[in-house]
Every structure is written in structure tokens, then in C-alpha cells.
Symmetry: C2
Subunit: 341 residues, 2 copies
């Protein structure tokens, strides 16, 4: 692949070059890239705003993360925060800090991933900022979304007896990371070694190219279900349950045998001699949704694809517990009831 | 001053600690920090969004920039982009990447500056993201504002015969930077040396604690003036004039003797044997407004404080020119008609 130095473009030329292939699709986007600020029109909808900062060496390792995947993931994790409010992502701004190590082609790859994510989720790129960095790659994305009045879901609305629901499966993204870290070690010891990824495509995809739960948010709306509390699972089920229970002033009872886990994640955990339940509770980066619904919605929620009931909300004095396979109760802790280290 | 390690707080504890003293003042802010996304209500107003990424060693030097000033400036430069659309800044998100070099007290200083800026300009802090960084300090701020329908001003509306206006004075922030760089050199040669800042308070303030032109935007509204094009002067008058003329497809004629320059900036330029006109045209970081108004608004605009007319818009085929004191015409160039190096 050819290498074009970023200095060939000025800052404005570079932004134009990277963003001109993005099309605007949302009627709320009045003006995108190219002025002091973007202009949005929300009429009687509520506006949602979320932001994420990703730093090389802290949040991603370019040794095993392709730039296109990184761009896709950086966008999708922001969309996930908007869905977690029961909203729809509509616009993003992307700011980059880029060291001399990166070429224009590298940034094109990154933006190709962002563009794909924008197309898949129907989001418009509306602005950003690109500047030199002394070290590595910094990505800051802000996402703006919209929500229907009275249908925005916060973290503080869970009530005793509500059902606790989780989408998809948990722990796969973490097991994918463990696999990538292992292969990186093997490669650093022997650069001739080829990575062994056979039969592990699902956990790799969960780590490298996660999706946000647009489908479940649409299905909930179709069934007329408004969760009482919701957030996305970026830091692990345990940590997110603590957030919802603390902010809602309730307790919870979650059943180990109800936690959804993929076959590949179980196999990987066995291979690495790790606890898959710990990975599911504390692994993070699954970007599934954790939400609570009223018991009255039980008949409706069991008909929604990709949603499982993992427990129920209790009175606050009962505390936060995981019920193990033998019926034993284990207190949930933010850093994991069993350290991952 | 005592030093508290950031690790004493978790990520969520730290955000809470740093943001709990911020009060929400805008009715459009329905929900701020503490959920997956903030929730805003804009009814029939248009929403404006701008974002900036600041990297240590590239955009600021902590050797001579106090953290409180840095926080203030980081917020104000975003407000300036919203005023440059003829809007009002209402909310910001602040994301930080922080290396171990920084203590909790350091971040408190930074947030004290952000808080002061929010109070002065009536803006709410609504969210953000704080994470570890391997090297230095990274600050990413996104600002959301609102504009009246039909009164938002873009860069592309300038017409031939429009008057070109500039607020405040230009070049002072750049001369302040030159002074700080000189004193840094002196200090590195002799650490006993005391900086010589007497009679230079204005240019230092312009560099370290710039203000956004809330006052002029309010005055224009009061007089019923809607500029035809507008942007803020962050990269120097020359570069910004080129943006407006290119996007509006017009030319311009700007008069050297009309460019507003402060006494302290002139004195500093003489001391350093530099051209003050070059500094004013290309220095940047003044965060003044550059705008064009219809000739019909001449009587109104001359009554607005802190606004000067520096030239007029021409047909595109006449090009972009600075008219010197002797009547000579010099073509405006983005990198400066006389290199700053």
C-alpha cells in the first residue's frame, strides 16, 4: 500500500479528504462538517449526547486491531450509549490526534470503519477536529441522538419485582481479548508463528467488531415495552448492575445459570483455564444491554428475540447477589466477586 | 499542596468528585452527568455542536500554562465557535486522558477553570469520560449550543459590498505566546531568572485566558443585525478571510491601517523585532469574531462597541487583498503573506 504523509494535506484539506465521502441521511442534520459548529434540528424530540475518548496503548492495541475495525468499534460504542437511553443515534463528531507514524492511508482505513458504522446504523458524521499528536493515536467521538418524550430510559427507575434482562451473551468479547493477547505473546516469542484462530471467529468478532443493540431497541418499541432502567454493558454485568441498583436504590438477585454465554466463550475459557462466569460478570466490552422491565411486561418480553431474563430487582435492604448453581448467594462487587487477575 | 493519587478514586468516583460542584442552569439541560448520555430539550430552537481536541505538547505547554487557565481556555474556545454561528453555548462534555504525572489536585485545578468558564458564560457541564493516558494530558471538549431559526450565521453568506468587521484587537495572543516562549528560554538557561512581565499583562491574558465574544453577539442581536457570514479568529485573520471568501465565492479588500492592534502587542513586537501586522494577520488564538454585514447595516454597526470595520467584500474575480499603508495591494495567503518563521 502506498504511503502519503499527512503533511501533504493541511488540517482542513485532511478533514475534507476524509469526510467528503460521508453522506448526510438524517433530516435533523441541517449542516455537517465545514463551519464553526454543526447545526441540528430536533423539534419536539429530546436530544441525547454521549462522548468517549480512546487512547492508543490504553484502550486499543494496533498490533492486533486493524484500523478499520477500530473506527467501526469507536463509533459503535457511542451508538450503544444512545440505545441504552432508549434513543436513536443520529450524528457523531470525530476528533483525532495523530502522530507522524500514521499515513493518510492509515486514516482512510480508520474513516472507512467509521463510515461503515455510520451507514449500518444510519448516523451522520457532522464535524470534528484533526491535529498532530506527539505520541500515538487519540480518538474522541461525541454522539448525538434523539429520544421520544417520556420514553427515555435512565438508570434510576428500577423497582422491586422488576425483571432483569440482558441481551445477547456476555463474556465473549473478553475471551476474544484473551485470545488476541495470547497470540500476541506467541508472536513476540516467534515471529514465524501463525495465529491459531480456528473455530474462534465469534469471540474475535465480539472483541474486534462489536455491534450495538439497535435490533432490541426496535423490538421493545414494537412490543410497546419501555424499560424501567437501562444501560449498556461496557464494564461487565456486575459493575453495571451495581450502577442501576445504586441509582435506583434497590437490590437484585441474579442467577448464574441464567447468564447467557456463548459456546465459543466457554471453550476458550476452558482452554485458558479461566472462569467463564467471571468473564461474563466482569469482562466488559460486550456492548449488550442490561435493562429492567415491570413484571406486567413478562408476557411481552419473553417474545423478544435476543433477550434473556437473568434475575429480578429486590428491596434495597436485601443487597445485590448472584445466586450460584448450588443455590449459594455471592455478593456482587464492582471489581468482580473473583478477581480477574 | 497535598497530592492525592488519581487511583484513590475509581473512574466513576473521580468524575463525580470533579463534577459534583457544577450546577445546571439551562432549562434545556434535562439530565447531565451520570447516565449513558445526557438529555437535552431544544423545542423549536436549532442545536449547534462543536468539538475540540487539545493535546499536551502540541496545543499547550504546562511549563507556563497554569491548569486552571488551561481549563478556562479549553472551554472558552468551544464557546467561541458557538458564538461564531450567532448562537448561545448551553452545554459541554469534557473528556480527559490523564497520565500518572497528574494528581487529583491537578485535575481539581483544571476543573476549577472549566467551572469558572461555565459560570461566566452560563454553560452546563453534562458529561464526559476520564481515562488513564500513557503520556501527558489530553482534553476533548464538545459544546452544544442553540440558535434562533433563521438567525444562524454560516461562513458562506458574504456578498460583494458587504462590510468586513472584526471585534477587539488582533495579534495580542500571539505576542503573549512569544513573550512566554522567550521567558521559558531565559528560565531554561538560568533557573534563578525571574520572568519580566511588567506592562505586559494584557498580551499575557490574551494568550492564557482568552474570552469569547458573548458581548458582541448580544449587541448585534440588540441592534437587530444578523451578519451575512461569520467565524471566530482562531488561526489568524488571513486564514479566516480565505475561509469566508472561498465558501462565499467572493473576494475581499482589507486595509492594513484598519486592523485593530493593541498598544502592548505593538510594543512587544518592537522589542522582539517582529512584524505586528504579520502577527495580527497570522498569529491566531485571538478568538475574536470576523463577520460581514450588509452595507445597509452600516449605521447600526458603527454604534456597536468593540467592533471595527476593516474592509469590504468584492466580486470573486478581484481576489483577496490586503491594502498596505502606502496603498500597495498584497495577496492574502493562508500560511501568511510573510512567513512567521
Amino acid at each position: 500500500m502506498s504511503r502519503t504523509e499527512i503533511s501533504k494535506y493541511g488540517e482542513f484539506g485532511l478533514i475534507k479528504h476524509l469526510t467528503e465521502k460521508f453522506k448526510l441521511t438524517n433530516s435533523s442534520t441541517l449542516k455537517g462538517v465545514g463551519d464553526d459548529a454543526a447545526v441540528l434540528d430536533y423539534k419536539d424530540k429530546k436530544v441525547l449526547v454521549t462522548t468517549d475518548l480512546l487512547l492508543e496503548g490504553v484502550h486499543f492495541d494496533l498490533i492486533y486491531v486493524p484500523l478499520k475495525h477500530l473506527g467501526y468499534k469507536a463509533a459503535v460504542v457511542n451508538f450503544s450509549d444512545i440505545y441504552a437511553m432508549n434513543g436513536q443515534p443520529r450524528q457523531i463528531t470525530v476528533s483525532l490526534g495523530v502522530s507522524k507514524r500514521f499515513s493518510v492511508e492509515d486514516l482512510e482505513e480508520l474513516y472507512a470503519g467509521i463510515k461503515l458504522a455510520c451507514e449500518v446504523y444510519g448516523v451522520d458524521l457532522i464535524g470534528g477536529d484533526t491535529s498532530a499528536s506527539l505520541t500515538g493515536l487519540t480518538i474522541s467521538i461525541t454522539c448525538i441522538g434523539e429520544g421520544e418524550k417520556d420514553k427515555i430510559v435512565y438508570r434510576n427507575g428500577a423497582k422491586p419485582n422488576d425483571l432483569i434482562c440482558v441481551t445477547g451473551d456476555l463474556g465473549s468479547a473478553y475471551m476474544g481479548l484473551q485470545l488476541l493477547e495470547r497470540e500476541k505473546l506467541v508472536f513476540s516469542a516467534n515471529s514465524e508463528a501463525q495465529p491459531d484462530f480456528e473455530g474462534k471467529d465469534y469471540i474475535l468478532q465480539r472483541q474486534l467488531k462489536p455491534e450495538a443493540r439497535k435490533d432490541v431497541i426496535a423490538a421493545l418499541a414494537e412490543k410497546g415495552i419501555v424499560p424501567t432502567a437501562m444501560m449498556d454493558i461496557s464494564d461487565g454485568l456486575s459493575s453495571e448492575l451495581i450502577h442501576i441498583c445504586t441509582q435506583s436504590n434497590v437490590g437484585c438477585q441474579v442467577y448464574e445459570d441464567k447468564i447467557p454465554i456463548s459456546y465459543q466463550a466457554v471453550a476458550m475459557a476452558e482452554e485458558l483455564n479461566m472462569s467463564i462466569v467471571t468473564a461474563a460478570l466482569n469482562g466488559g466490552e460486550d456492548y449488550e444491554l442490561l435493562f429492567t422491565v415491570s413484571l406486567d411486561d413478562y408476557d411481552k418480553i419473553i417474545g423478544v428475540d435476543n433477550v434473556g431474563i437473568v434475575g429480578h430487582i429486590t428491596k434495597p435492604e436485601l443487597g445485590l447477589h448472584l445466586v450460584g448453581r448450588e443455590g449459594e448467594e455471592i455478593e456482587l462487587r464492582a471489581q468482580g466477586w473473583n478477581s480477574l487477575d
